[in-house]
């Protein structure tokens, strides 16, 4: 499993982004990149049926995205997520690798758009309503703001 809450806390979000960028640079054309994204989604532990609740649903249209937020130690936010579409699920996995087990401060300081630009996936965060990913990042930031308060 690529995502783990036991991930070393020392790696910063930018370290993780560097790792992801290196991972994607090894991939050739768009087909390989998409296959890799789909594989990331396959490795993501699915949410349970009860966790796929309306409350955890992030606004989307063509596909659905769910996000579960947990704050175990009072400072770090842990996220788990899921989607009913493969590619979106892979993108959810990417977002979780970047954002899960981080402090609210780090989360709020991180520029998601820049990160996806670097990975050559900027289209993934487009404002198109069919994609729930932008809404997912917005919810992550909102939850982080709530912890920070």
């Amino acid at each position: 499993m690529l995502l783990s809450t036991a991930e070393p806390m020392s790696a910063t979000m930018n370290d993780e982004l560097d790792d992801l960028e290196a991972e994607f640079e090894m991939l050739g054309d768009w087909e390989e990149r998409y296959r890799h994204v789909i594989d990331l989604g396959r490795d993501l532990a699915p949410l349970s049926d009860t966790e796929r609740s309306d409350q955890n649903k992030v606004r989307g249209c063509a596909s659905q995205v769910w996000l579960v937020t947990e704050t175990t130690d009072g400072t770090h936010l842990t996220f788990r997520g899921d989607s009913d579409a493969h590619i979106v699920r892979g993108l959810v996995a990417l977002v979780l690798r970047l954002y899960s087990s981080r402090t609210a401060q780090d989360i709020l300081a991180f520029d998601a758009q820049k990160a996806f630009d670097r990975l050559g996936l900027s289209g993934a965060l487009s404002s198109q309503r069919s994609n729930g990913l932008r809404s997912m990042v917005e919810r992550i930031r909102r939850d982080a703001s709530a912890v920070r308060l």
Binding site: Y34, S63, H86, I87, V88, S130
Partner: protein
């Protein structure tokens, strides 16, 4: 007269562009059509040479623009064979047209009155009626849909009661492609003295519609699905229906006289066209309608049908693929699901191969629920699509499936 698809493609500038380095294969015409030069030029021309507000000026530009605007109304009347040009009301689109009828015709409805809709309706033909349910306690009844995607006509007959006030149904489904038996629908309703609204967004594009032959009371469609611009649509209403209906919105253009304590409304259609209309878009729609009427529409229908059949025969063999909507005589709309692959995934991969399809609920959630799916992919064909594009679509679909195997 015949139909030469290669020649007609040259009239659509956008069709020569590429997407992700691949030639564009545009299979989303049921959502919105691309525009021919004649529409683009008509809209530019009015802005370049004779633009003005309509109806109220006495100068040359106002007269020229008003003439072009009203010529569009005559073209639309001719397209659907309306009895009079005054039966053509310009709206923002089909959605606006249905909202107009719901708000205006709906004023006379009271609690317990009934409206018959169907499970295959687009949200535009559901939500405005929900407003009446919420505001007045009007009861909505839905005609069920068979596994093939056809209206259950026996159930339809059985839905009528002494409280039925209106039937509002799709002429052709935007998801299933089913062409509903409009004349029969109208005849049954009229036997109960109930008027009928037909949502013609899809049917107007693919077949010759004669509102008088159908004897339909209201017929609505959008310009942008008819190779015309966005922001313009049509409400056809029988003269005797429109005459009894109060205005929908208030403003300029729609009044005969205004004093501080009294108002007299203009006659239809102007009664329903408050404010400065979408002048440029209306003229663009007129150009689209004139252009379409100059084509061999039977040949176009045969061409589109052949595209659909070719696509249907090819995708049937794909493992795990299920076509939603298999009614005989259906239009050129192919909705489908593939086991283990979300429609959103398919649309994204197909896009990388240059193929544009729709994915989602197609603004028809009750229909999705009826077929037990949360979403579907849809390839819809327009007159400019080719056999080669169908083959590219099928190849791309087979390749897309390998991503998720």
């Amino acid at each position: 007269m015949g139909f030469d698809v290669a020649k007609v493609r040259e009239e659509f500038p956008i069709l020569s562009r590429q997407v992700h380095g691949k030639p564009l294969v545009y299979l989303d015409s049921a959502a919105s059509c691309q525009k021919p030069w004649t529409v683009i030029e008509a809209m530019s021309r009015v802005m370049e040479s004779s633009y003005s507000n309509v109806h109220r000026g006495l100068h040359s530009l106002a007269n020229e623009t008003t003439e072009a605007y009203e010529a569009a109304r005559r073209s639309v009347a001719k397209l659907i064979h309306a009895g009079s040009v005054d039966e053509i009301v310009f709206t923002k689109g089909a959605t606006d047209a249905i909202n107009l009828v719901a708000a205006s015709f709906g004023q006379r409805l009271v609690e317990g009155d009934e409206i018959i809709l169907s499970v295959m309706e687009h949200h535009a033909n559901i939500v405005p009626w929900h407003f009446l349910r919420q505001a007045k306690g009007v009861v909505l009844k839905f005609v069920p849909v068979s596994d093939e995607g056809e209206l259950d006509m026996d159930a339809y007959r059985a839905l009528f009661s002494p409280r039925t006030r209106l039937v509002s149904l799709s002429h052709m489904s935007n998801v299933l492609g089913t062409v509903n038996p409009a004349a029969e629908i109208v005849a049954i309703a009229h036997a109960h003295s109930v008027p009928v609204l037909l949502d013609g967004c899809q049917s107007i594009v693919h077949e010759i519609v004669d509102v008088q032959a159908l004897d339909v009371d209201f017929y609505v469609f959008s310009g942008h699905k008819l190779y015309g611009p966005t922001g313009i649509g049509v409400l056809y209403g029988k003269a005797e229906m429109l005459a009894t209906m109060p205005p929908y919105q208030g403003g300029g253009e729609m009044i005969a006289s205004v004093a501080l304590d009294t108002i007299t409304y203009a006659d239809p259609p102007h009664r329903f066209e408050a404010g400065t209309p979408a002048i440029i878009e209306t003229i663009g729609l007129g150009a689209a309608v004139d252009w379409l009427m100059a084509q061999d529409r039977d040949a176009i229908a045969a061409h589109e049908h052949a595209l659909y059949e070719r696509a249907y025969e090819a995708v049937r063999g794909i493992n795990g693929l299920r076509v939603i909507g298999t009614a005989p005589g259906k239009g050129a709309v192919l909705s489908f699901t593939i086991d283990g692959v979300h429609a959103h995934d398919l649309a994204q991969i197909l896009d990388r191969y240059g193929v544009a399809v729709r994915a989602g609920t197609h603004c028809a959630e009750p229909l999705m629920t009826r077929f037990g799916v949360t979403s579907s992919a849809r390839a819809s064909f327009g007159l400019y699509n080719t056999v080669e594009e169908v083959d590219l679509f099928v190849d791309a679909l087979i390749r897309a499936q390998t991503f998720f195997a």
